[in-house]
């Protein structure tokens, strides 16, 4: 065959242009299996073990020197210098033609001049790690915002699209705002996208060099683009046809992500890449389903009359509900009332199971809140409201029926993608977080991200007090109340972390009764978030927060607080993941400030009830009250163990999401929009 003929048969997909490569996701790589997976796992261990931290330390020091060397430059000279470095980075995004250290030093100088912040060597290190596509673990309060900003400028210099992923809208807005002067000084545009924006506005924002936003917004917009206007090939083809026919001006339908995707820097990477990756993002639209609402109402009424143990059994550790024969029997009495679609035994029983499941495992104020006659789900990890999110059809309606609000029409998914699949396809992915080491193996396995630990700038001064273990929940709240009052009298600011809206309200009520002024930060008060956080470090302020005050919340200490011992953090309810606890504890002791943390454990805690054996709990219960040395520590160990169990379970769930995704992709490869042309 002649070379010409060969070229003729080359498939179209390999004709991807360099531009295409810089604006689109990588094709999905098949996941390694069997021995290859083992080898991959071992390589991950090896890489973490011989970590590049020494080289980074050296380069961080050099960057600082480069930064300081520029202090004599005038602003104009600096701008010229920056322009040169920007050009070299655009030509060679990885190493800037050997000028990478100079470039980051120069950006550091810009930060000093325009933000008034001089980066520490560890911040340079972190930025370099981000630039290299690593996942930097930096202790809480080490100034990750600036670190990400430095890396964002470098990414912006390269000319490729850069998205900086934050944990929530508030942080996206705040970080973009704080860094705006730096970006502008470096000649880059920056913007943030939040959930409330309209599509037209979004498209403008996405046009910036660097965009701050949450993972959900980015993936949702990406998916909207994917289903919106045909595949990439079709768009190219349409544009070509338009050009061929000479119909100028008929541009292909606009996309939201005008510049595509290329680089992602994920702040709070463990939260986004791991905790939130449990459920894939599903774009959905309402779709009328005849009879679902009536069926759900009937079944919900029935569910209220069923007796546990007689009609059904619930398995708390396993989080499932099983119907017993008598329950099924009672359901058959209603068979005439149930719409015909839902009559078959399997379907009606599924509805009843869902109704019972909701009653046992969905707690108002913890998993959802009712607002304006609508059920709004709360995010398990951040404690924030997630309007627009809904559970699988049936389950969501079951909650609505239980709360007595109008039953919404079920959502039908239009398309979906898991966060794992999305982020692992970025051409360049990096991230930073305070807590990544526990999840290093998973991050490597799923995203190919290597975790590197960046040393602390100043030694942490946080003092962990001996955990307090109480027999009952009420005893625990009493003890917390007393401790908060004690610290309050000393004039220290106190932050109490709880897990549900209800708990935060309850504790606030009791503290108010005790005569204190309390600020509550939870899903319902999210509008005042910035104001509450800015006050939380002032002397004598008591703040009660759900997990909202975890990641990224920078509590700056007020005047005279340092002398009194800094911020006191009370972990009132242990979380399902150790990383979330560590994040909460990380609110104090930032940048070498003093701070104390006390942890309260109760045998009534969800975690203990679900995972610790009855015998162990009664043993601990016998001993509490006596001053047994080491008891609290032993109990803490047990709680830690329970946490690790939950983390393993969560990993299994995420892994099954990934597996199901892969099964779908290989079994139902109908994603492509292209009809076969015959």
């Amino acid at each position: 065959m002649s070379p010409l003929a060969h070229a003729h048969f080359r498939p179209i997909s390999s004709l991807a242009t360099p531009l295409d490569r810089s604006t689109s996701l990588r094709p999905l790589q098949p996941r390694v299996e069997g021995l290859d997976a083992l080898a991959h796992h071992l390589i991950g261990h090896w890489r973490r073990w011989r970590s590049p931290v020494e080289e980074l330390t050296r380069q961080g020091r050099e960057s600082l020197e480069a930064c300081e060397a520029l202090s004599t430059f005038t602003d104009d000279a600096l701008r010229v210098r920056l322009g040169e470095l920007r050009d070299s980075l655009r030509l060679d995004p990885a190493e800037g033609k050997g000028m990478l250290i100079q470039a980051i030093g120069c950006v550091g100088q810009m930060a000093l001049r325009h933000l008034g912040l001089k980066p520490y060597p560890v911040q340079f290190m972190g930025a370099l790690a981000l630039h290299r596509g690593l996942l930097a673990e930096m202790a809480t309060g080490e100034g990750k915002t600036l670190t990400v900003g430095l890396a964002g400028v470098l990414a912006g210099f390269s000319g490729r699209t850069c998205h900086i992923i934050t944990a929530n809208d508030y942080l996206a807005h705040r970080d973009a705002e704080e860094m705006t002067r730096l970006y502008h000084a470096c000649g880059l545009s920056v913007s943030s996208v939040v959930s409330t924006m309209e599509q037209a506005e979004r498209a403008i924002q996405y046009g910036s060099d660097v965009v701050y936003l949450t993972a959900k917004e980015l993936l949702a917009d990406y998916l909207r683009d994917e289903i919106g206007s045909g595949s990439r090939e079709q768009r190219t083809q349409a544009a070509f046809m338009a050009w061929l026919n000479g119909v100028a001006g008929t541009e292909p339908p606009g996309r939201v992500l005008v510049r595509g995707v290329h680089t992602a820097i994920v702040d709070e990477a463990d939260s986004i890449l791991i905790d939130e990756a449990v459920t894939p993002l599903i774009l959905s639209a309402s779709r009328e389903n005849r009879g679902l609402a009536e069926a759900v109402m009937i079944v919900s009424q029935l569910a209220d009359t069923l007796v546990e143990g007689e009609d059904y059994s619930s398995n708390i550790p396993g989080k499932n509900v099983q119907l017993l024969p008598s329950g099924m029997e009672r359901l058959t009495h209603f068979i005439r009332d149930i719409p015909v679609v839902w009559r078959p035994a399997q379907r009606r029983e599924e509805l009843l199971r869902q109704a019972l499941f909701v009653r046992h495992f969905f707690k108002p104020g913890h998993h959802y809140v009712v607002q304006d006659g609508e059920v709004v789900l709360l995010d398990e990890f951040t404690g924030r409201m997630t309007p627009g999110r809904s559970l699988t059809a049936g389950l969501h309606q079951a909650i609505e029926a239980r709360e007595g609000v109008t039953i919404s029409t079920p959502k039908e998914s239009l398309t979906q993608m898991s966060f794992q699949a999305f982020f692992s396809r970025f051409r360049k992915l990096s991230g930073c977080t305070g807590t990544a080491w526990e999840a290093a193996a998973e991050l490597w396995r799923v995203y190919g991200l290597q975790v590197v630990r960046i040393p602390e700038h100043r030694r942490r001064q946080t003092i962990y007090r001996t955990p307090v273990i109480t027999r009952s929940g009420s005893g625990k709240w009493q003890a917390i109340l007393e401790e908060v009052l004690k610290e309050h009298r000393l004039g220290r600011p106190v932050l109490v972390g709880v897990r549900s809206v209800n708990a935060s309200e309850m504790l606030a009520e009791r503290l108010r009764n005790a005569g204190c002024e309390v600020r509550v930060l939870n899903a319902l008060t999210h509008a005042e978030e910035a104001e509450i956080v800015s006050q939380a470090g002032q002397a004598g302020v008591i703040t009660i927060a759900t997990n909202m005050a975890g990641r990224g919340t920078d509590i700056r200490l007020g005047q005279g607080v340092v002398e009194r011992g800094g911020l006191h953090v009370v972990v009132a309810e242990i979380n399902e993941s150790l990383r979330v606890d560590r994040q909460l504890a990380g609110r104090c002791g930032r940048q070498g400030d003093p701070g104390t943390v006390s942890i309260y454990l109760s045998l009534d805690d969800d975690l203990a009830v679900r995972l610790l054996p009855e015998s162990f709990r009664s043993f601990i219960s016998l001993l509490t009250g006596h001053s047994v040395r080491g008891l609290a520590l032993a109990a803490q160990r047990a709680f830690r163990w329970a946490q690790s169990r939950l983390e393993a379970e969560a990993f299994a769930r995420r892994w099954s999401v990934l597996k199901a995704d892969e099964w779908m992709r290989s079994a139902l490869p109908f994603e492509g929009q292209g009809r076969r042309t015959s």
Partner: protein, 722 residues
Amino acid sequence: MNLELAGGKIFSDAWHRVASVQVQLRSSVGAHRQYFRGEPWVILRDRFSNDWFRISPDAYAFLCRLESGCSVDEAWNESLAADPKRALTQEEVVQLLGQLNLSNLLQYDRSDSAATLFERMSRRKKSETVALLMGFLSIKIPLYDPDHLLEKAMPLIRRIYGPVGMVLYLLLLLAGGKALMEESSRLFDQGSGLLAPSNLGLLYIGFLISKLLHEFSHAAVCKRFGGEVHRMGVMLLIFAPMPYVDATSAWGFKQRSKRILVSLAGVVAELAFAAAAALVWANTAPGTLNALAYNVIFVASVSTLLFNMNPLMRFDGYHILVDALEVPNLFQRSREQLRYLGERFLLQLPHAQPAARTATESWLLPAFGLLSMLYWLLLMFNIMLFIAGEYFELGVALAILLFFMSLVVPLFKFVKYLASSPNLDHHRSHAVGISLVLSMVAIMVLGLLPVPDRIRVMGVVQAGQSRQLHVESEGFFSELLARPGTVVQRGQPLLRLSNPDLEMEIRAAKMQLKQLKAQEIQAIAGAVAELSAIYRQKQAAEESLSTLLGRKEGLLVVAPVAGIWSASELDASHGQWLGRGASAGTIVNQEDWRFVAVLPQVASHAFEDTIQQTEVRLRGQEEINLLAQATVVMPFEQGQLPSRALGMAGGGDIAVSNADSSGLTAAESFFRIESILSVDALTHARLLHGHVGTMRLTLSDRPLFAQWERKLRQLFQRRFRV
């Protein structure tokens, strides 16, 4: 998620993947109905690739809606409108389409998904290779498509497998049976030579021919009932080439009886072949043809009934059983049921799902599972021993493989199951605890708990005191004065010999004496000087006479001691010549018996150990357990066996030297074990000198692991001289 779970979820999150797709079954896919245990199913089959899939009629109804060219979403809405009760849920549709697509049974209007087609192909290739390697004991190599040939032969096939053919078949079987009956004595005489090395070649040829017929018969009957046969080739069954045909299209037959008939066809043909061979064998003179026919008789009848019809091996018998019981996937599900039993009752998992759906299945499945597993192990063990005998290294490799497959792999799988099976969620610690306790108990019992250690050896009964009787003077056996085997008293005459020569000599001696006496008288009268010489002569003659008389007395054999006289050497008929010193039996003292046994020296632990108890059971009197005392083990290098019966020449365990025709000289060194049978043994059992029996030695207790390890070592030492 499987189809059963999908039934509860009316909406699927993956619906968008399929909703707008126009998808339908490939045009090469045919469908037909089949009943399993009274339940209707639809079987889908791709004519080209021979891929199979079984779906419910409801699912098939949905697939039919898709044929009209509407999208999946439209079809689903239509089905919901038409018959909401039987319509599939979205999740069911998604799962159904996914599984069908993975089986390559779908075509759809999407162009850019061809990559997954290649992905599936490479995965399939890979799994086929793995299956080939794992099933190394039966590797199939397809060579030829016999369908065309069979098509041409259809008229013949119709005739053979028709009523006329059946009648002829029965007549052939009868004739063959008759021939065998008539020649039955000759039949079994030749039998011992069947497995002789010189015959193996012929045996294999006979085997090959009958298997070829067997396979063709499957193919022909399959074709006869409308199936297709596209693959024929060579199967390496335990590395021995064997023909095979792929008649799996018979699985698609609607009628169970037809499926069973196809499975039976092979054996039916082989039996006909055996009958024909019997006729040939009975009517030809010895020669190659005759020998071949003889081999075929056995191969085509016995072996085929033992192997092909054996439901425990996955040959025809298994498929017939599956069809007869209507338990599809019997083999696989029997293992699942065993697993369920383990999960439910050993690991105490409350949510374990049984594979058995009916009461019959709940005992049938585990029973089949256990039997087939035991059978497999036994078969493998014997194959291993056989091969190891021929090729030692290969045998050891097989043994290691067998050990690996039957112990290490299941153990590994179990540990993996404990560590990661989703079935164990929330019961994992419980299950791990139970398994730990059970395995601890097993290890304790097997590895630490001492149990009696016993060895069995062959030996003979010997009397403690016995007197060999020898004939003192030679003669013809003339009269039996006591019956052998009875108790005789001291001094009792036992038998009399007659010796005419001796009588003559005595007469001659007497005559000589008489003459000498006369001479003596003459000398006294005449010549005194000669007297002294005659006197000396007379003395000599007298002595010689008394010797002769003594020898005559010796002709009467008298019991020297009391006891049982056993005289196996004596010919009962009179007139037997017994030379001087010839054995006239043994007189055995009844009070005092020994048991002498021999033990190969690889079992040297018996020498070092203390013997706790010794019991003896005699052949023919196995019901009586005799206690023995004072057992002594003595090393004997290549010594004489106490009895011929203990050597291999006499049917015992000890190899004997070829140089010794008596079969008494042992070729390997052995231990001689002697013990005294207790007195009460006499009252119960009839003891005979030289009676063969088995001795059981109870050594000091030791754990089973130690015993097994030793036995294995000894097996290897003895069999393979390692």
